[in-house]
């Protein structure tokens, strides 16, 4: 009857999974037609497995409960691998011709009226892809699922097993909206193990970091694994956004891979700039006096920083700046900058004496070993930092 059940299974491997209810209906109809030759496919249109169950309830039970037809257990299939079920359903189809559907069902599963199994069967309704009625709807659906990027498994923390129990409840919503990459990823990862795995399962982002903003959906994430996963994912997304704002020109780039590339390029360019500028500074001995320092700092920080910060750090640059001024021979330039600092210094009257006193202190202050050039920071305006510095040294 089937033109090769195994070939149908083979086609399953090459197709995509189509969790559409219509698929499940076709599958059900097909099965039903196999099971009950007198079954009219059109009459089961719009029905579900419940309809299937309604019609040949006894027969279905008998078929599937080979050893003993009891009442159909409703929740059998969720734990057992569904592939096994449907393999055997395939066998059912094959044997339908020859046998009275004597089904070597190891598991005591049947067609439960649970929607979960409906969806799972629908997933594997790609069995029916070689049938024209099924394949038409399958073909219509598979493109949208093929559009989803494959799960690359590169985020190793994606808890595939942990997401299994969430899948059935999410399936219906997935069928309605397409951008549920997480659920589909997990399903595809699950189906990897099963024979009916559709090969082309793509991620929506299509790169190494398949993180999609997945809204919290109903019935989702009752276990700690997925909760932690989602929290981690959102943290990562928040940090990526921060990075995007930092790096110029990154906010218009879409896709995490390109953004990361841009960030890497930016950091590399910054490091190269530091190297280049340090070489340049080595060649040019900057005659840094206070006028130069003033200019640099005002260009960067603005006047506010000068006013507030110089009170704290004034004495420090005063010491070494006077040193540099002396070394460059620009001692005469000291008095005018002195006045600038005087406006800001807390104790202006002490400043000159301060500098005289510190003139003696210069040698041992500035002759810190070249290895720890900035190790000694006496005027660090953050006392905590200075303590940390000491511990660092």
């Amino acid at each position: 009857m089937e033109p090769g059940g195994s070939s149908g299974v083979g086609s399953v491997n090459s197709g995509t999974y189509t969790p559409e209810i219509a698929e499940s209906l076709r599958f059900e109809e097909e099965i039903q037609s196999l099971i009950d030759p007198s079954f009219d496919a059109s009459s089961a249109a719009g029905g579900s497995f419940t309809a299937l169950l309604g019609l040949p309830a006894n027969q279905a039970v008998e078929l599937l409960h080979h050893p003993g037809p009891g009442e159909p257990p409703a929740s059998a299939a969720s734990s057992s691998p569904i592939a096994g079920d449907l393999w055997r359903l395939r066998l059912v189809e094959q044997h339908a011709v020859t046998d009275t559907l004597r089904l070597p069902f190891g598991c005591s599963s049947t067609f439960p009226s649970d929607a979960a199994l409906v969806e799972r069967a629908a997933r594997f309704s790609v069995f029916a892809t070689d049938d024209s009625p099924a394949s038409s709807s399958g073909g219509g659906l598979s493109p949208e699922l093929k559009a989803e990027p494959p799960d690359s498994h590169s985020p190793p923390t994606l808890p595939v097993p942990a997401e299994k129990p969430r899948r059935p409840s999410k399936r219906k919503e997935c069928e309605k909206s397409k951008a549920k990459a997480v659920a589909k990823k997990s399903k595809s990862a699950e189906e990897n193990t099963s024979a009916a795995k559709p090969a082309a399962e793509e991620n929506t982002s299509g790169d190494k970091l398949p993180y999609v903003h997945v809204r919290a959906r109903r019935g989702q994430a009752t276990d700690s694994h997925s909760l932690a996963e989602r929290a981690r994912r959102e943290k990562i997304n928040a940090r990526m956004k921060l990075l995007q704002e930092l790096v110029p020109g990154c906010s218009k780039i879409t896709g995490t891979a390109l953004v990361l590339d841009e960030i890497i390029n930016h950091v590399q360019s910054l490091q190269r700039q530091v190297e280049f500028l340090s070489m340049k500074l080595a060649a040019v001995n900057p005659r840094i006096d206070f006028s130069g320092l003033d200019h640099i700092l005002s260009a960067e920080c603005g006047p506010l920083a000068m006013g507030s910060g110089c009170g704290g750090g004034a004495s420090d640059p005063a010491t070494w700046a006077s040193e540099t001024a002396a070394s460059t021979g620009g001692i005469r330039r000291m008095p005018p900058p002195q006045q600038i600092w005087h406006l800001d210094l807390v104790h202006p009257q002490q400043s000159s004496t301060v500098w005289e006193n510190n003139g003696a202190a210069h040698p041992h202050f500035l002759l810190s070993p070249a290895t720890s050039l900035v190790g000694y920071d006496p005027a660090s305006s953050v006392p905590l930092n200075s303590n940390q510095l000491k511990t660092e040294l």
């Binding site: 890497i264 950091v267 340090s278 704290g312």
Partner: protein, 147 residues
């Protein structure tokens, strides 16, 4: 030095962003002057390398030890200083995995999880850009004043 002690009661003068530009400038300029004094003029490349190390050191000190990258930078500097080894050029080849490339770029990135790596990259990028601005400003003012 009591004047210095009494004057340093001011916390971060720029509360808008974490690492202080002013402190960075002070540290770096001081280090720069030291390097220019101590290294002979015959070895500009050696001086350049020292200045680069001074730049990273001042960056790391300004960022504080609360950051993993600054700790890694200081660790690297102190170890290098002890062993007197030449700093290897860390070229980031285009790795297949971008996270690995990022780990190679950001100091201390090897031992971090991805989430922390992104955070550290952000902070490191901020500090690096500040340092570059500062150095550019120095070069500009030096070239404009000296010439």
């Amino acid at each position: 030095m009591d004047s210095k002690g009494s004057a340093c009661s001011n916390p971060n003068p720029n509360p808008t962003f974490g690492p202080s530009k002013l402190m960075l400038a002070f540290r770096f300029l001081r280090a720069l002057s030291i390097v220019h004094r101590t290294t002979p003029a015959s070895s500009p490349t050696c001086r350049g390398r020292r200045i680069e190390r001074a730049a990273y050191a001042s960056m790391a000190y300004s960022a504080g030890t609360s950051r993993a990258w600054s700790r890694a930078v200081l660790r690297r500097l102190h170890h290098r200083a002890r062993r007197r080894a030449v700093a290897p050029r860390r070229l980031s080849t285009t790795a297949g995995n971008r996270a690995e490339a990022l780990r190679r770029l950001v100091p201390g990135g090897a031992g971090m999880d991805y989430c922390t790596l992104l955070e550290e990259t952000a902070d490191y990028t901020k500090c690096l850009s500040m340092q570059v601005e500062l150095m550019q400003g120095i070069v500009d003012s030096a070239s404009s004043n000296g010439r």
